[in-house]
Symmetry: C2
Subunit: 151 residues, 2 copies
């Protein structure tokens, strides 16, 4: 995320939080910054490290829960079952994930609009036939990342 985008995102986050009567504290700001700089969803432990332990794990989890509740962050679970957080798509834009099955790295990837349209039609079609109403989709591309390929 560029610093310009980060500024814009910060205003949006501030709005989302105050709409809930929730404060935009230092710890929350630091989590947002760390995630804005990340190239993919981060685990609580990774964030704790990135923040150099300045936010205790229990507080960090509470921070993440508050931000998720306010729809500032989204949460998912990686292949080890560990929770990973990233900025919500309303801030980061729609994207998918490249997952390295060797080292576990998860990286964001964009998808061009025409292809995304194709995917959306496909997804809604499948859902309809099964009696579901589709509200979203998630595509994980599993493979081996560049550095694991050469290693």
């Amino acid at each position: 995320m560029t610093s310009r985008q980060t500024e814009q995102a910060e205003r949006e986050v501030s709005r989302l939080l105050s709409a809930r009567g929730v404060r935009f504290t230092a710890a929350r700001r630091q989590v947002i910054y760390a995630l804005a700089l990340a190239t993919g969803p981060m685990a609580a432990g990774e964030l704790h490290g990135t923040l150099r332990g300045r936010v205790p794990l229990s507080s960090l989890y509470r921070t993440l829960a508050v931000l998720e509740e306010a729809r500032v962050l989204s949460k998912e679970h990686d292949s080890m079952g560990i929770a990973r957080y990233e900025l919500a798509e309303s801030l980061l834009g729609h994207h998918h994930h490249l997952v390295c099955l060797t080292c576990g790295e998860v990286r964001d990837v964009g998808i061009d609009p025409p292809t995304e349209d194709t995917v959306v039609r496909l997804v809604e079609d499948i859902a309809r036939r099964a009696g579901y109403r589709a509200t979203g989709h998630r595509i994980d591309i599993e493979g081996t990342c560049a550095s694991c390929l050469t290693a």
Copy 2:
């Protein structure tokens, strides 16, 4: 899965296990049967219930680990971070998942071959551009299932 498919799958499982010097015991057979009848991936706790507690949880987890190691089962984590198991795609065929965000149900869905081809090309293209070598993909269609829609 039809009973005919189940027979065939059972022979394949037997082969995969004996290739590893691993026995096809009663508990393992029961897990395979339960999963062959399931409409989507099951959590250990659900299997434990389906098997009416005949297999203690710790043994069940060991059974699942052995079967996964032998590539008879595949494991993933649902939106709560809980592990769910299903027959490997080599037995069940390639498919994707419909996820009901309301009740948590996960259901298998097939995808027609031409569309799947499109998806594969798309996925490999994205991976290549990021320096990854793609080995597979996973699509979760998130939405609301038929019974939650009417409820």
